[in-house]
């Protein structure tokens, strides 16, 4: 079972790599969309990254509940725990 710290580190790792943002910009309370500069196409690639790293698919409607990085960590953590 992945620890929460490991989940956070994995998420931050692929966000830095895929979306080319400085690691220091990724803060738990920061806004995910604004910080990463996500448009509608980028959300598709976010789904790909999550599936590739955690083995489950994010439903597009789930993103409406995710505002900050912390929301995203919590969402992934819950999904991993329930898988």
């Amino acid at each position: 079972m992945m620890t929460k710290d490991k989940i956070v580190a994995t998420i931050n790792g692929f966000l830095v790599e895929e979306f080319e943002v400085p690691a220091t910009d990724i803060q738990p309370d920061a806004n995910l969309r604004d910080t990463l500069g996500l448009d509608s196409l980028d959300y598709v690639d976010l789904v790909v990254e999550v599936e590739s790293n955690f083995g489950f698919k994010v439903k597009p409607e789930d993103f409406t509940e995710i505002s900050t990085f912390q929301d995203f960590y919590n969402y992934v953590n819950t999904k991993v725990l329930n898988t």
């Binding site: 448009d39 980028d42 789904v47 790909v48 599936e51």
Partner: protein
């Protein structure tokens, strides 16, 4: 009618990744052909291919700009950067003035196949990712470059098999000549990978001379045994003479003729009569006689039937005047969708630098074509008027005539 001039050019190919290197390769008759071992493992008859590096675009383009750009789009981007710089066209000018884009491209097999592989693996279309659709469409090059450079003029891709790049320049010429555009980025791009070439290899069209890659492409030679697939990107900036002069641009040459025709026959067998039509149309439009042409960059790909048919067409039209003829595909291999554009760049480099590149590996001319004047070694010669042939599957023919600019 407007006069149409060329104010910039750029190249990214297996004989060099910029104009200077390519000029040296042409001058010294250097081959860019090598072996792709992966093809052999996949069951290709021939692993011969043009070999060129994938450009590193991370410092040049942001993620969103890169993610939809396939391999040949990267090649085309590098060539276009070089061409725009030479033409003195910066982003500020692109933002203020209407500039179009026409590129020849006729496949994007690798991203298309990889998308289907991913779908079969994951059973979920979202997991293909967001870039694949923009990489996979035939218009991928113009789609991406028009977005990257924020272009607002004509924007489309010309697909005409191995004459695509030549027709793209020809169509640009027609639009500017008729006053519909002032500046168009024209060119050709070709992916270099096994995905795009397996079915072509299956037609037994490629050379099997794998033990001597640099000697494998030998257009017009009696011992030729097929073409070598290759690729890259080539760009020329076409501009109305008024536009070029208004901004004081350096003029590299003037397009004065574009002939085109269709054989109306077999889907893959060449036909001399069709190419003669395009040659004569280009000469008539340019208002020049066969004897005025000083150099012909032949389409000749090193296939037994194709080179013979083109040679017979050249004998018919140029048999009395005998201009120098060479095929730069002897060095580059067949750059396919890109070839018609790259061969304009190669010929312009020769015209600028006073030499005719050799048709390397042309050791014994096919007997039926002995009366043609082949440049079997480099010819050091100033020249002012050249013609470039391009032909493709389906019997499409294109012929461009370019002259040294005189005001």
């Amino acid at each position: 009618m407007k006069r149409v001039v060329i104010t910039g050019m750029g190249i990214y190919s297996c004989i060099g990744e910029n104009l200077d290197t390519v000029k040296d390769s042409l001058f010294h008759g250097k081959s860019g052909i090598g072996i792709d071992p992966e093809r052999k493992g996949l069951g290709f008859r021939s692993a011969l291919t043009g070999v060129l590096p994938t450009p590193d675009l991370r410092e040049l383009l942001n993620r969103r700009q890169r993610i939809g750009l396939p391999q040949q789009g990267g090649y085309a981007y590098m060539a276009t950067l070089e061409a725009l710089k030479m033409a003195g066209i910066d982003q500020d000018m692109l933002d203020k003035e209407r500039v179009g884009i026409l590129f020849g491209n006729d496949s994007s097999a690798k991203p298309t196949i990889e998308a289907v592989d991913q779908l079969r693996l994951k059973n979920d279309t979202t997991l293909i990712g967001s870039g694949s659709i923009f990489q996979s469409m035939n218009s991928t090059v113009t789609m991406n470059l028009s977005t990257i450079f924020k272009l607002r003029g004509v924007n489309m891709t010309i697909s005409a098999a191995c004459a695509s790049g030549s027709h793209a320049i020809g169509m640009g010429y027609i639009l500017i000549k008729n006053g519909l555009e002032d500046k168009i980025i024209c060119g050709g791009a070709q992916e270099v990978n096994y995905h795009s070439m397996g079915s072509f290899d299956g037609l037994s069209t490629f050379s099997l001379r794998e033990d001597e890659p640099h000697k494998a492409s030998r257009p017009f030679d009696v011992d030729r045994d097929g073409l070598i697939p290759s690729g890259g990107g080539a760009t020329v900036i076409l501009e109305s003479l008024e536009s070029a002069q208004r901004r004081g641009a350096n003029i590299l040459g003037e397009i004065i003729g574009y002939g085109f025709s269709s054989n109306g026959g077999h889907i893959s067998h060449p036909d001399a009569a069709g190419s003669i039509q395009s040659l004569e149309m280009a000469l008539k439009q340019a208002n020049v006689k066969p004897g005025d042409i000083e150099y012909i960059n032949a389409h000749a790909t090193s296939t037994p039937a194709g080179d013979l048919a083109e040679g017979q067409a050249l004998l018919e039209v140029f048999g009395n005047s005998n201009p120098y003829i060479s095929s730069t595909k002897s060095m580059t291999g067949h750059e396919m969708w890109m070839a018609g554009a790259s061969e304009i760049v190669y010929s312009l480099l020769m015209m600028q630098n006073g030499f005719i590149a050799p048709s390397i590996n042309l050791e014994t001319v096919q007997p039926e074509l002995e009366k043609l004047n082949f440049a079997q070694s480099r010819i050091n010669k100033e020249f002012n008027l050249f013609l470039s042939n391009s032909f493709g599957f389906g019997g499409t023919n294109s012929c461009l005539i370019v002259k040294q600019f005189q005001s």
